[in-house]
């Protein structure tokens, strides 16, 4: 009977565990933000996502990339002294960041929210007048650095931010800039 069981065992379809995606792991979100900027500037198709549960520490994200580009990515990151801690093949569905925006018109002011972060600008001068929301410790720092500056003068939040709240603020910043420029 063994040969019959062996026959069925062989005929069972082999599930493919091969993935076309890999992820770059860094010790901090700030490094992910910098690596993302460099890889995007190099024209590589990447996405920022949430790590799988077994790799979560609290305020994390990873860079998902096509494995076919692994060598090129490694070279680019090494040249920028931003080599990842680890490169892992994606085995499971990764969490998608929030991608919808909510805007609110206050007459002379426009507020845009991305995830848990809000940015408000004067519609005429394009001055950032308030930043609210969030819970990570770079939020008050980012607010201090951005409030009072125009959208053109202000540093991009991703150039200073180190956390997921900072990243969400970058998305809100880009959206409010798009809306203000019409």
């Amino acid at each position: 009977m063994k040969w019959i069981r062996a026959l069925f065992a062989r005929s069972t379809p082999v599930s493919s565990s091969m993935s076309e995606k890999g992820m770059l792991l860094y010790p901090s979100t700030g490094e992910v933000i910098r690596a993302e900027s460099i890889l995007r500037a190099a024209g590589i198709d990447i996405a920022v996502k949430g790590p799988p549960p077994n790799l979560r520490q609290g305020c994390d994200m990873v860079i998902e990339f096509p494995l076919v580009h692994e060598l090129r990515i490694s070279e680019i990151l090494e040249a920028a002294s931003l080599s990842p801690l680890r490169v892992v093949v994606v085995q499971d569905h990764l969490l998608e960041p929030v991608s919808l925006f909510h805007s609110k018109d206050f007459g002379d002011f426009l507020m845009v929210r991305a995830a848990n972060m809000k940015i408000t600008v004067d519609k005429h001068s394009h001055t950032i007048v308030n930043i609210s929301g969030g819970g990570c410790p770079d939020v008050p720092y980012l607010a201090h650095m951005l409030v009072g500056k125009t959208l053109d003068q202000a540093p991009e939040p991703r150039s200073l931010g180190q956390t997921l709240c900072g990243y969400a603020l970058q998305l809100a910043f880009q959206e409010v800039r798009r809306l203000c420029r019409g």
Partner: protein, 294 residues
């Protein structure tokens, strides 16, 4: 020791501080350091100080460190609280800290060795860590906004940045989100959900809706959630029962808006001079609750 406020300051070079503090004009003064009250934990501390004067509180202690997002200051705070055996506060309010599950767990377990265990209030980054740790039910109060309520309701989201669904119209869906958060044990025993409608929740049941007075221009102002957390912490430190404290704090924060008449460009520092009057008015007008309901 009455109450302990734990959070960070948005500056690089502020060392770990553990002491009482005062508010002088637009600055906090602690250990000969002057820290501007712009937003974040300094705004919470300023609100608590002013509310404490109205309520006759003894000086409140704070654990602070500088952190601009690198997590260094937060780690120093986690380490200090996880190893502390000297202090036994009546309550602790956790605020802007880098979410760190291991750090959170070490701090919580150390505090739970105290007898009695302090009242535990969590907001901002520490609330994110508390939810992700799986120990949310060990807390007495969370103070989320509607977006953070969606995060608590999403059992898979490790941070509001990854919250699935509920992305729009969260305000209308707050009762549904509250139900989901409690069903998955991702909520504290009480919630004060802040927004156009403030909701007070006890053990999963909605016990108060506060919609008036309404000042929509408070929403864009960074720090108005921090003043609310400062107000409720001060009321709890004064011995006010939980539901009463939540309702009164929500009302006081709303009166703050009425008195200050802000625009979306107003800063939280400009609101603070109105806080004592706002709290006094709320103390006179907040409804009384049956203490056994808390």
């Amino acid at each position: 020791m009455s109450w302990l406020i734990v959070g960070t300051v948005p500056e690089k070079n502020v060392p770990l501080l553990w002491n009482t503090y005062t508010l002088q004009g637009e600055y906090l003064r602690i250990d000969n350091l002057q820290i501007p009250v712009n937003r974040g934990t300094p705004a919470l501390l300023a609100a608590m100080f002013l509310a404490g004067q109205v309520l006759g509180l003894e000086p409140v202690q704070t654990v602070l460190a500088g952190d601009i997002g690198t997590g260094e200051g937060s780690r120093a705070i986690y380490d200090a609280l996880a190893s502390d055996t000297d202090h036994c506060p009546r309550g602790v309010t956790f605020h802007y800290l880098m979410p760190d599950i291991q750090g959170h767990n070490a701090v919580l377990w150390n505090l739970e060795k105290r007898s009695p265990v302090p009242l535990l209030v969590a907001d901002a980054g520490f609330m994110y860590a508390a939810k992700m740790s799986g120990f949310a039910t060990h807390y007495d109060l969370f103070t989320p906004d509607a977006g953070e309520m969606a995060f608590l309701a999403d059992e898979k989201a490790p941070h509001p940045f990854y919250t699935r669904g509920f992305l729009l119209q969260e305000e209308e869906r707050v009762p549904e989100l509250i139900h989901a958060a409690y069903a998955q044990e991702n909520a504290a025993r009480h919630l004060l959900v802040k927004g156009a409608t403030d909701s007070v929740v006890a053990h999963g049941s909605l016990v108060a809706h506060i919609t008036q007075p309404s000042t929509p221009t408070m929403e864009p102002i960074g720090g108005t959630g921090d003043t609310l957390t400062g107000l409720v912490s001060a009321l709890l430190a004064s011995g006010t029962p939980m539901i009463q404290a939540c309702h009164c704090a929500a009302l006081a924060n709303r009166y703050l808006g009425v008195l200050a008449k802000p625009t979306p460009a107003t800063s939280v520092v400009e609101l603070l001079p109105f806080l004592p009057q706002a709290l006094e008015h709320a103390l006179r007008t907040a409804p009384a609750y049956d203490v056994s309901a808390t």
